[in-house]
């Protein structure tokens, strides 16, 4: 369990990234921070592995204030996947994945074996293992990034817009893959995105943020759609644009689902 207690963050130049933020992220679920740029979502994510230290308040992991923990060791115990994968260009794919294990003191041979195994888990052909990151496509690099985040089997996985830089088709593949992985692995995932569709697809708990880390609404995707807290949320999730308000029309005895703009989106099957 991750808990933010009255967190605030003012950067050295005086900008307030987060005003006053409190939230509990239950274990083995995916929490998605979603909002436009400047809403503090990445800052909040990076507080979990002390890449950013809060100016006020505490972050707790399993009831331990992480300010009391050595930051390097803390980071080694948490998986981190970032936009553009952030792979080390001078190390081969397999060594990029094994790096985290080696930092954790795992022997060379075991690190290699486990890295090969996790490459398969994320759906990468092991023939890519001896290539350098620059020889891979963006989607493949991102899978390596996910493999690196998972290889030490951390309880917590932080994902900072991990699929933001790949094309829509690959993004969809990676999202599906992540859902499958999460079913098997049961990690506590903190995921940051500006894409509300991605947030609703992946999140058990979705946190919609306004400027300065102010929470607009927290809830499951269904809760948020059923009862948007205010106009900001309504507009952010797209209810006012009509793409989320669906109704059923009969066509030749088939019930077709049509959205608010009149576009047919699917067929309703009788259960």
């Amino acid at each position: 369990m991750i808990e933010y207690r009255s967190i605030g963050k003012t950067f050295a130049d005086g900008t307030e990234a987060v005003g006053d933020f409190s939230l509990v992220l239950p274990s083995r679920t995916t929490t998605v921070f979603v909002g436009s740029s400047g809403c503090g979502k990445t800052t909040l994510l990076r507080m979990v592995n002390r890449m950013v230290d809060p100016s006020r308040g505490q972050v707790l992991i399993d009831d331990v204030d992480i300010a009391t923990r050595n930051r390097v060791e803390l980071r080694r115990s948490i998986g981190y996947v970032m936009q553009n994968a952030g792979l080390l260009p001078h190390r081969k794919v397999i060594d990029n994945v094994a790096t985290v294990l080696r930092l954790n003191g795992v022997g060379k041979k075991e690190a290699r074996d486990r890295s090969y195994a996790v490459l398969e888990t994320v759906g990468l052909d092991t023939s890519l293992a001896t290539k350098y990151p620059s020889q891979l496509s963006g989607g493949q690099q991102q899978r390596v990034g996910v493999a690196r985040g998972l290889v030490s089997d951390p309880n917590i996985l932080l994902m900072d817009e991990p699929f933001g830089a790949v094309d829509p088709i690959v993004r969809e593949e990676l999202q599906t893959e992540l859902l499958r992985l999460q079913r098997d692995l049961d990690k506590t995932i903190v995921f940051v995105t500006h894409d509300i569709d991605e947030a609703f697809l992946l999140g058990d708990q979705v946190v919609i943020l306004k400027k300065g880390g102010e929470v607009a609404q927290v809830g499951s995707p269904a809760d948020i759609l059923a009862a948007p807290a205010d106009d900001f949320v309504r507009s952010f999730v797209g209810i006012d644009k009509g793409s989320r308000t669906l109704h059923v029309e009969e066509r030749d005895g088939v019930r077709v689902v049509v959205d608010g703009t009149g576009k047919a989106t699917g067929v309703l099957e009788s259960s």
């Binding site: 890449m51 390097v72 980071r75 080694r76 970032m82 553009n84 952030g86 001078h90 985290v100 930092l103």
Partner: protein, 234 residues
């Protein structure tokens, strides 16, 4: 070329001392400049001061430095150490700027990812920053190498024997063949050094060729060498 055949032993001796007088400053200069460049890159304010100092140092004519040094470090006027120390200073002056640029060329995103993965600061510096700065460091080292090889010859004027002695002696005795052997020897030595550094770079940085087709040095070593031959530095 009869002169060369009759004086092979002498030329080889001078070549060996030229190699020695070049290698030590190149290696020392690199080892000293890399940490300076690393530090300068992390501290923008220090960077300006350090690099300005290095630039000023580099404008001191080498011959003057060879002659001033004995009174500063207490060596004899004919001591080869004067040449080694002076050329190390020049090497540091050139290399510190290259090294600072080299560390500046490393992608901040990669460094951020390395930190997040759990690299401690020292581990990150040696295992991530240093290798990634490699291609630009190599480019800088190539300039230092050819410039040092050519500068060593100026040392001959202060009585420190090396291939440059063939210039002074050949000039004195009006022996064009001797001067020519000196020129060819120095150019060849510079090219060998340059080739060795490029080769070492390819072996040590195999990844850099997969991401960029060529690693080009900011200043062509041959150009800077030509400048020295024209006497720009004497």
């Amino acid at each position: 070329m009869r002169w060369f055949e009759n004086n092979t032993d002498k030329v080889v001796d001078l070549l060996l001392s030229h190699v020695w007088l070049s290698v030590v400053p190149i290696v020392l200069g690199f080892v000293i400049a890399v940490p300076i460049g690393w530090y300068a890159n992390r501290h923008p304010r220090v960077r300006g001061v350090l690099l300005t100092m290095a630039g000023v140092l580099y404008t001191v004519p080498s011959l003057a430095l060879f002659l001033i040094l004995p009174s500063i470090i207490g060596t004899g006027f004919l001591d080869p150490l004067n040449v080694v120390v002076a050329l190390t200073m020049y090497a540091v002056a050139i290399m510190a700027r290259s090294a600072s640029d080299a560390f500046g060329s490393v992608s901040p995103g990669v460094l951020d990812a390395a930190t997040a993965a759990g690299f401690a600061p020292a581990g990150r510096a040696f295992q991530v920053e240093l290798p990634l700065a490699g291609p630009v460091l190599v480019a800088g080292l190539r300039v230092v190498a050819v410039s040092t090889v050519s500068l060593v010859s100026v040392g001959a004027l202060t009585g420190v024997n090396n291939l440059g002695s063939l210039f002074t002696e050949g000039y004195r005795t009006d022996n064009d063949a001797e001067i020519l052997v000196g020129v060819i020897g120095i150019v060849a030595l510079a090219l060998v050094f340059d080739g060795l550094i490029v080769l070492a770079g390819r072996l040590l940085l195999p990844w850099s060729r997969s991401s960029r087709s060529t690693t080009r040095s900011p200043v062509s070593p041959i150009m800077s060498f030509a400048q020295h031959l024209r006497g720009g530095r004497v």
